[in-house]
Structure formats: C-alpha cells, structure tokens
Amino acid sequence: MAPTGYYVALSGLLFAIGMIGVLTRRTAIMIFLSVELMLNAANLALVAFARSWGDLTGQTAVFIVMTLAAAEVAIGLAIIVAIFRKRETTNVDALATLKG
C-alpha cells in the first residue's frame, strides 16, 4: 500500500495543472475542463486522507463534490451553448463586456 504522501503529491500536481489551465486557456470549455481537473485533484486528496485516518467523512465529501460538479457542468455548459449561439465565440476575453 502506497503511502498517503504519494496520493497527496499527485493531487497537488493535478491541481497545479488545472490551475495553469484556468489561467492560460481562453476557451470557456477548456477552462471548464481545467476546473474539473482541480475538483478531481481535491477529491483524490480527500479520499487519500479518509483512507489514512480510517474515517468515512472524507469519502462522503467526495460524493458531495461530485454531485456539485455534475450540477455545475450541466448549468455551465448550457450557459456556454447559449452564449455561443448569440456571439459565435467562447473566448472569455471577448465576453469581458458582460461585466456588471
């Protein structure tokens, strides 16, 4: 059984990759995918810690995160599709005019 540290390191790596994706990508879909990656990195860390402490609370949290992620994707994609129909682009910089 691999030590918890490895899982946490992998999780950190995934999180960093996701963050770089969010910061560098311009397409809304890609940003979305990167956010998913970050969420999954967090999930991985939660599961790893739950196992190391022998406590199920972390596992429960993972289910909540997954449910939330699913809901977020459903709504987010719908918004992106609607924006694309209207503006023919999903470049988030071009959408800066939507600021309050």
Partner: protein, 638 residues
C-alpha cells in the same frame, strides 16, 4: 345674461387655443379669439342696455373662508356704471384690436399662441374690473401682469431667429434679449406695485374687517376709524396703481413695453392694463374721499407724471416710443383728475384716451407694417401720399389728443383742467403746460411721419388691407365723436356721461363761473393750437434735436440711468459678491465629495470582466492567506 359670461368667453378661447393649437390652422385662431371677445362685447352691451340704477351683484361660489366679517369671501361679480364703462371699453376696443391683429400678425409663426395670450389678457382684465372684492380684483390684477409679461416678451428670440444669414441671426438674438429684458422689467416693476396693493388690502381688512367692495363702501360711511389708517391704506393702494399704470416713480417699464408686437402695445396702453390703476382709485373712491392727503398725493403723482411723460415724448425717434411716453403723460392726467375727486372727468378721459390712443397705435402699426418693420420716424415722412386712409385716421387721433374742439380729447381734457383750476392753481398750470407739450409732440409725430419728403428705404409703401382699415375707421370715428357723450353745460350740453357715472360714483359738483369756464376752454384750445403751430415751426427749422431740451428728452430725463446708478449697480455689486462666496462654498464641498468618491474609483478598475484576471487575483489572495497562516504557525508553533 349672467356676468360670468364676460370673462368666460375669452377664457374659453384662451383654453382652446393654448391646449389644441393644431385644431386651428391658418387664420382660424384669430377669428376664434376675435369671436370670443365679440361675444363678451355683446354680453356687455346687453347688460348695459338692461342696466337699472341699482348695481347688480352676482355671487358664484364661496372662496376664502372667514375673509369677511361673519361670512366667507366669495367669487362674485359687480356690475355698476363704472364697471359697465370699463367692460365696454375692454371688450369693444379689445375686439377691434383683435380683428386688426389677424392681419397684422398674419405672417407670424406663433399666430395661435399670440391670440391665446390676447384672449387671456382680455379675460383677466374683465375679472379685474368686474370683481366685487379686492382679493378677486387682485386675481385679475396679477393675471394682466402675467399676460403683459408674456406679450411684451412675445418675440423673446427675436423676429428672425430662424433666419439663415449670420448677421441677421445675430441681430435677431440681440433683439430677443432686449425683448426679454423689457418683459422682465415690466414684470418686476409691477411686482413692486403689487406689494403696495397687497399691503393696502391687508390694512383695509384690519381697519374694516371686510374686503368686499359694496360692504366696504357702507362701512366706510358708518364705521369710524383712525384717519391715519385710511390715509396709509390709500397711499399703499396708490403704490399698486402707480406700478400698474406706469406712473412716477415706477414709470420706466411702460416705454420699454414697446418691445411687444404693436397690437399688444395698443391693448396694454389703450384698453386694458395701464388703466387698471385709474380704475382702482376710482373704485376705491369712498376711501379716497376720506383721505385728503392721499388724494393730494395721487393728484401730484399724476401731474408730475404727465409733465415727465410729455417732456420725454418731445424728442423721441421711435414712432411707438413717442406714443408710449404720451400714454404715460395722459395717464398722469387721469391720475390728476381722480386725485382731485373728479372721478367722472378721469374715467371720461380714460374712455376717450382708449379710443384715440388705440387709433394712434394701430396707425403706427400700419406704418411699421408698410415700411417693413421700420420704426424710426427719421426714416419716414410724406406717407400721406402712399397711405391716404391711414393718414386721415391718424390725423383724427392727433387732433383728438391735442385737444382741438369737437374732437373727443378736447372735452375730457377740458373737464380735468377745470377740476385742477378749482383745486390748485399750480396743478392747473402744470396741466395746461402738458396740454401745450402734448399738442407739440403729437404734431411733431404727425409732421415727421406723414408730411414732408419721403425719407424711407422701402420703394413703394402700401396701404394696409381691409382688416386693418375697418378697426382704424371705427376708432377714428369714435375718437372724433366720443366727446359728445359729455358736453358740459356751458357749451349747451347735458353732462350725459357725468350723470351716468354719477349713479355709481357721486360726482364732485364744481362751481366755476361760466365766464371763467369759457376762459379756461379758450386757454386750453390756445395751448393745443400753439402746440401744433410750434410743431409746424419745428418741422420747418428742426432746432429741437440738438438743444439741451432735446437731449434731456431723448434720454427720458435720465430716469433709467438714475435707477441704474441707485438701484441696479449696487444690487449687481451685492450679487457679484454673493456669487464669489457661493463659488467658494461650491468648490469646498465639491472637493470633499470628490475626495470621498476617489477610493471607490480604484475598485471599479478591478472589475475588468476578464475571467482569468479574476482567477489570478483569487490565486494571489489564497496564496497570501496561506502564506500568512504558514508564517504564523511557524512562528507560533516552533
């Protein structure tokens, strides 16, 4: 025929024209407005024919609670001989001026608006003269003030404000500014008088406990109050009358009121507004009879104003300004008469003046029209050849105002001079001198405009059209013949007008021997004839323009400049000082406001709308918080 119909018709005309101007294309608005005034005139005539000796009072509805002793003040109209005369003048002469305006204002862009205001003017004046209480009279009083403001400033942007040429536009802008200033001047000077009227009303209410005129007349006879109180109330009412009638010292707005279209000048000067002061004093005769000092003041204000107006008229160059100063002077005569308790003579002069001054103004308007807005008499002359009809009409007016026998001004002026002779020789001398000056300046006006060589710029001045000629003809006939309404006894007449008005205002019976009356008449006629001959001599030699008297007259005795120095300049200095303070306060508070708003502006920069910029700031924020906790736990835990 109920009395409220009199002001109602023109008021309806005003309402229709101001609310639905699109409904009256072309000249329909003018005909509607004229019809409304004509309807009022018919009502006035019918009421006059059916009038008994007893005044009629018709109460419409209660108005101000507890304003009369034990009762509410109501909106009511009062029709006695005095208001009958006034109503007939206002509607009759007003109607003729309306008809004239249809042609005169025919090419104006604001044709409908003009007639709406004219109707409003007539309606308010009718309310003023028919009111049975001072507060209701005050409503009409303010109404005519408003109407005169609107009409004097009628060309508030100049007559050529839509012209394409740059020079023309600029001249028009300047003219518009002058017109607006004239309107403001009239409005403000009238407000000064209104303060006097209001204070007078308050004082009368304090003294007698009522402001209803018939009740007040009864009380003035039976209730004893301090004479000084009545004197003061009468002097305050005089201030109001002075403001509205352009008497000294509030006279300078009246000549400036020439900025309005010519029919407006005729309406203000002949039929309506400026006679309101004379009417107010005649209407309050029962108070003035108890106040000898105030009455003397009225007489002297009138006498001096008559002199001032006549001197100022001597050397004016604007065809309408001469007539305007003449109005000031003639109103002075009326004040002189009513101040001497010769109310009948004053009101009779008001009547004849309404005819001949309206005639003169409308003739001047026809001339101005024919010469394409030329108003300087130096650029006229010899118009008798081009406009024979208007020439004869204007000549009738000149003879009437100069006091030549059989023309109406002769009879009315004679009555005033007789009253002055009886009361105060000094006032009589002033009156006679003014008669001479009147004949001179009107003669000068006549010769400069109608005789001699034509000096104008328009190649062929044309005679006016029928709509202008008919009112001129009617007014010329009235100005010539109206004097026979009141032929005095020593000339074999029956004093018809005195008797008629005497039923409303007890006439002062003056006792002058017949031989003296003949002498007075001869002197007055001699003054008139001498004035005209002097004008003829002046016309030949032209010596007035360069003399000291001419300069004094051209500048209207410098009264405007005196006011400018004494009142306007100090007021402007105070205003400029206050302006500096105001700006200082403004800058201070503006600075405080800007400094408190500035930090907020920094945060708005952050709201760029770039999603990744937000993500970076989230990342940095999180890193900062994490770093802070890390430092703390290292520092504290180790």
């Amino acid at each position: 025929m109920p009395l409220y119909l009199l002001p109602l018709f023109p008021l309806l005309g005003f309402t229709l024209l101001i609310l639905f101007p699109r409904l009256f294309p072309g000249k329909a608005a003018g005909w509607l407005a004229s019809g409304a005034v004509l309807a009022s005139f018919v009502v006035a005539v019918l009421r006059y024919l059916g009038q008994g000796d007893e005044p009629a009072r018709e109460v419409l509805w209660t108005w101000l609670p507890n304003m009369a002793l034990g009762a509410n003040l109501s909106v009511g109209f009062w029709f006695d001989q005095l208001s009958a005369v006034m109503a007939l003048i206002i509607t009759g002469v007003g109607f003729l001026i309306h008809v004239y305006s249809i042609s005169y204002m025919g090419h104006d862009r604001q044709f409908t608006r003009f007639f709406a205001f004219m109707n409003f003017f007539v309606a308010m004046m009718l309310i003023l003269v028919l009111a049975d209480s001072y507060p209701l009279m005050f409503v009409g009083w303010e109404g005519v003030g408003m109407a005169s403001y609107l009409l004097i400033g009628f060309w508030y942007s100049g007559r050529n404000s839509e012209a394409s040429g740059g020079d023309l536009r600029e001249a028009s802008d300047r003219e518009g500014l002058a017109n607006s200033n004239a309107a403001r001047k009239a409005f403000i000077m009238n407000r000064i008088g209104d303060v006097g009227f209001m204070l007078g009303m308050f004082l009368i209410y304090r003294l007698y406990g009522t402001l209803v005129i018939p009740e007040l007349a009864e009380r003035a006879e039976s209730v004893r109050v301090a004479v000084s109180g009545i004197e003061l109330a009468c002097l305050l009412l005089l201030v109001g009358a002075v403001g509205k009638s352009g008497q000294l010292p509030l006279t300078t707005w009246l000549p400036d009121a020439m900025a309005g279209p010519t029919p407006v000048s005729a309406l203000i000067h002949a039929a309506t507004m400026v006679t309101a002061g004379v009417y107010l004093i005649s209407r309050s005769h029962f108070l003035y009879d108890l106040a000898p000092v105030a009455s003397t003041w009225v007489a002297w204000v009138g006498g001096l104003t008559a002199l001032y107006g006549a001197l100022s008229a001597l050397n004016q160059h604007d065809i309408k300004k001469i007539l305007a100063y003449s109005t000031v002077s003639q109103l002075g005569y009326m004040f002189l008469a009513v101040g001497l308790h010769a109310y009948s003579a004053g009101v009779f002069h008001l009547l004849t003046h309404a005819f001949f001054k309206a005639l003169l103004f409308l003739s001047a308007g026809a001339v101005i029209h024919a010469l394409h807005e030329e108003q300087d008499v130096r650029a006229m002359g010899g118009l008798r050849k081009f406009m024979p009809f208007t020439h004869v009409a204007a000549l009738m007016g000149v003879l009437a105002i100069a006091g030549i026998p059989i023309w109406s001004g002769f009879f009315s002026k004679d009555a005033i001079l007789a009253a002055a002779f009886e009361a105060d020789p000094l006032l009589y001398v002033v009156g006679l001198g003014v008669a001479l000056l009147t004949a001179f300046y009107m003669g000068r006006w006549y010769f400069l405009v109608w005789r001699g060589e034509y000096r104008g710029h328009v190649a062929h001045p044309h005679e006016a059209d029928g709509l202008i000629k008919v009112p001129l003809g009617i007014l010329a006939a009235l100005a010539t013949l109206a004097g026979f309404l009141n032929v005095p006894t020593f000339l074999g007449g029956g004093h018809a007008f005195d008797d008629y008005l005497g039923r409303a205002i007890p006439a002062e019976v003056h006792e002058i021997p017949v031989s003296t009356e003949w002498l007075l008449t001869a002197l007055a006629v001699a003054a008139g004839v001498c004035g005209l001959l002097w004008a003829l001599a002046e016309h030949r030699r032209r010596s007035l323009a360069n003399g000291p008297l001419g300069r004094l007259s051209s500048n209207a005795l410098y009264l405007d400049r005196v006011y400018d120095g004494l009142i306007s300049a100090p007021s402007r200095a105070v205003a400029e000082g206050l302006d500096v303070v105001d700006r200082g306060v403004d800058v201070t508070f503006g600075g405080i406001a800007r400094n408190s708003a500035a930090p907020g502006g920094l945060f708005t920069r952050w709201q760029s709308g770039f999603v990744r910029a937000y993500a970076v700031s989230m990342l940095l924020g999180t890193a900062l918080i994490l770093g802070y906790w890390a430092l703390r736990s290292i520092g504290g835990g180790a």
